[in-house]
């Protein structure tokens, strides 16, 4: 298993850099992962999306449907890509410490 060093703390990640131990996630992890994609400042909008993702994940063990995410956070898809450069799955979920969904997606 690969590991990454985020501000001196080691985390297990998959080949795409998704955290393998969601319970170890902290806000600093999100900041560090965002930094790796060139986003140095996390706004309230970022947190709104990530907090929604984390709460949903804790209740459901999976990420929400994108449609539901945009509807319930009020952040439209286009804006989502502005906030999270690689989109809701590859950036937002990753920064929020969710694993990557697999299958016909």
């Amino acid at each position: 298993m690969a590991t990454i060093d985020l501000n001196g703390v080691m985390f297990e990640v998959d080949e795409d850099g998704f955290l393998q131990e969601p319970e170890k996630w902290t806000e600093d992890v999100a900041k560090a992962l965002a930094g790796q994609e060139g986003v140095t400042e996390l706004t309230d909008e970022h947190w709104k999306v990530m907090n929604y993702l984390r709460n949903y994940f804790q209740e459901n063990g999976i990420a929400p449907m994108v449609r539901k995410l945009t509807k319930e956070t009020g952040v439209q898809l286009k804006q989502m890509y502005e906030l999270f450069p690689q989109g809701p799955a590859n950036s937002a979920c990753k920064w929020a410490g969710l694993p990557k969904p697999t299958g016909c997606v």
Binding site: E15, D16, N60, G61, I62, R67, K68, T102, G103, C104
Partner: protein
């Protein structure tokens, strides 16, 4: 994601033969053309051999000490068990009719992607260990030793085949090269060589009922969310049921229809249609997956996963099963299910309660494809369809490999599209129906890390879409497979920007006039009807 490749780079394919025997060409694994290994947690969960940390780009694949023995013994067993495999190993005359029919060969120019050569990777080993001439004459008769190098080559090329079976259409002997790949993957799996995109969904399917890992309460919530959306758009309250005993019909769809984009709009279409005709049906949270990633791993795993559908149909006491827009499910249902998990003697021969049509073709499995069912409804005039709501859509249809070649479902989706849309244009003849080109991502290889190979393999399909886009202004590509819906958008974005991807039942849902509905101002994607279909930035 696709930005790191350019069309120009991927089009530079010379396709020249290397001038030496393929056996002398060393296989080098290139990044972008393979997928990551199975996560040991999921390998273990499924009880499969050799769970461990490893990656294809590692020098050491951590094979078991007696790997060679395991593979050869596995090969021997399978030759004995599957007469088809022995036949396919023996009868190829290397005429080359299949050589240029593979989308991966067309897109990569790598001769080991010619179906005939891909099969030779395995045949050469077969000859060496299981034929007298091969044992005696070795390379003279195309035989070679099984080495770790050969295993690496198998891994690389058997996961560069999407088991789409286009090559088989052209084989004068009817060799099913997908079955060779399937056997190759089985042998690799015996020593723990697999990819995570297959192993994790299969493991999820056991754990939660479906590939995505949607748990029952989430399955319920997602359906409810879909119903809320439908109510907002149509004013109609749709109430589907889950796990309801005594329902007449069990509906099985790919789980991505309850999760991903653009799949969910197809789900809206199903829900609206089945509500409108008042069908007595239920979903199941246990059999909540149509797709079968076991098919991409081994016969054994395919059988274990598929068994859930009959188990649930029996438990709920339904009369028959309706299946949604899922590709590989239909390869399994149509070609293996009957003898593998059947007989389905507890089911009845499916009969549409609306039209009275009896689906004798599905008597064996008790499973009817929703497109057949819907086409029958339209044929009997049971649906009111307003095609003008899809006026902005200029659609062409991608025949999903498995529904087309594995079950012959060719006319029904087109019939639904013509009745739901004003503008339907087929792609050239040699790229559709049984000649259809794969999306480039089937059979579990639709991963981000395999993107280069997917874009290469998807080139022939994309070129055919481009043809109808240039001639007829096509802006929508419909399909009836969840892998298509997941992977064609990236393919279109790369090769033919401006073409979106949808399911057939999404367009049907747009056109469907429902009793008591409010005036429809948006399509199922929530886009204003007047604007829909206008190309987005």
């Amino acid at each position: 994601m696709a930005a790191k490749y350019s069309q120009k780079d991927l089009l530079e394919v010379d396709g020249k033969a290397p001038g030496t025997s393929w056996m002398d060409v060393k296989t080098v694994l290139k990044k972008g053309r393979y997928s990551y290994s199975g996560n040991p947690r999921h390998v273990e969960y499924l009880g499969l051999p050799n769970p461990r940390e490893w990656q294809p780009h590692d020098g050491d694949w951590k094979l078991p000490e007696n790997w060679k023995e395991i593979v050869l013994e596995g090969f021997r067993e399978r030759l004995k068990k599957h007469r088809s495999l022995k036949l396919y190993m023996d009868i190829c005359v290397r005429c080359g009719a299949c050589a240029d029919k593979c989308h991966y060969y067309i897109g990569s120019g790598d001769e080991k992607n010619m179906p005939v050569v891909r099969a030779e990777l395995m045949r050469s080993v077969y000859r060496r260990y299981f034929t007298l001439s091969g044992r005696v004459f070795g390379r003279l008769v195309g035989a070679r030793d099984l080495t770790e190098e050969v295993i690496r080559e198998w891994f690389y090329y058997f996961y560069q085949c999407s088991e789409c079976r286009r090559c088989s259409v052209y084989c004068p002997y009817g060799i099913d090269t997908a079955e060779i790949t399937m056997m190759g993957r089985e042998l690799l799996n015996l020593i723990g060589l697999n990819i995570n995109w297959i192993i994790e969904p299969a493991s999820n399917c056991f754990r939660t009922g479906n590939h995505l890992g949607i748990q029952p309460h989430t399955f319920h919530d997602n359906l409810e969310f879909a119903c809320e959306e439908i109510q907002e758009m149509t004013g109609i309250a749709v109430e589907p049921s889950i796990n309801r005993k005594g329902a007449e019909i069990l509906l099985v769809v790919p789980s991505a229809d309850l999760f991903a984009d653009p799949h969910i709009y197809t789900l809206y279409g199903y829900l609206m249609l089945l509500h409108e005709i008042g069908l007595d049906y239920t979903f199941s949270a246990y059999a909540s997956e149509g797709g079968n990633f076991g098919l991409f791993h081994s016969n054994e795993l395919m059988k274990r996963l598929n068994a859930k559908i009959y188990t649930e149909a029996r438990r709920l006491g339904v009369k028959w099963i309706l299946g949604g827009e899922c590709g590989h499910m239909w390869r399994v249902a149509h070609q293996y299910m009957d003898t593998m998990n059947g007989p389905a003697d507890f089911l009845e021969t499916p009969r549409s309660p609306v039209t009275g049509t009896v689906f004798h073709n599905a008597a064996g499995t008790g499973m009817v494809h929703l497109c057949e069912f819907t086409a029958d409804l339209i044929h009997h005039g049971r649906l009111v369809l307003d095609r003008s709501r899809n006026a902005a859509v200029r659609v062409t249809h991608h025949d999903s490999c498995n529904t087309a070649r594995a079950m012959g479902l060719l006319e029904e989706p087109r019939y639904i599209l013509r009745n739901s849309c004003e503008h339907f244009h087929d792609m050239p003849e040699n790229t559709i129906r049984e000649h259809t080109f794969c999306c480039g991502s089937g059979s579990g290889v639709g991963t981000d890390e395999n993107l280069e190979m997917r874009l290469r393999g998807g080139l022939p399909r994309a070129a055919a879409v481009r043809y109808v886009r240039e001639r007829h202004g096509v802006n929508m590509l419909s399909c009836i497979c969840a892998i298509d819906k997941a992977t064609l958008p990236a393919l279109m974005q790369f090769w033919v920007p401006g073409v979106e991807v949808c399911g057939v039942h999404e367009l049907l849902g747009n056109a469907l006039v429902m009793k008591g509905e409010s005036e429809r101002t948006v399509n199922l994607r929530g886009e204003t009807l007047a604007e829909a279909g206008h190309e987005k930035e």
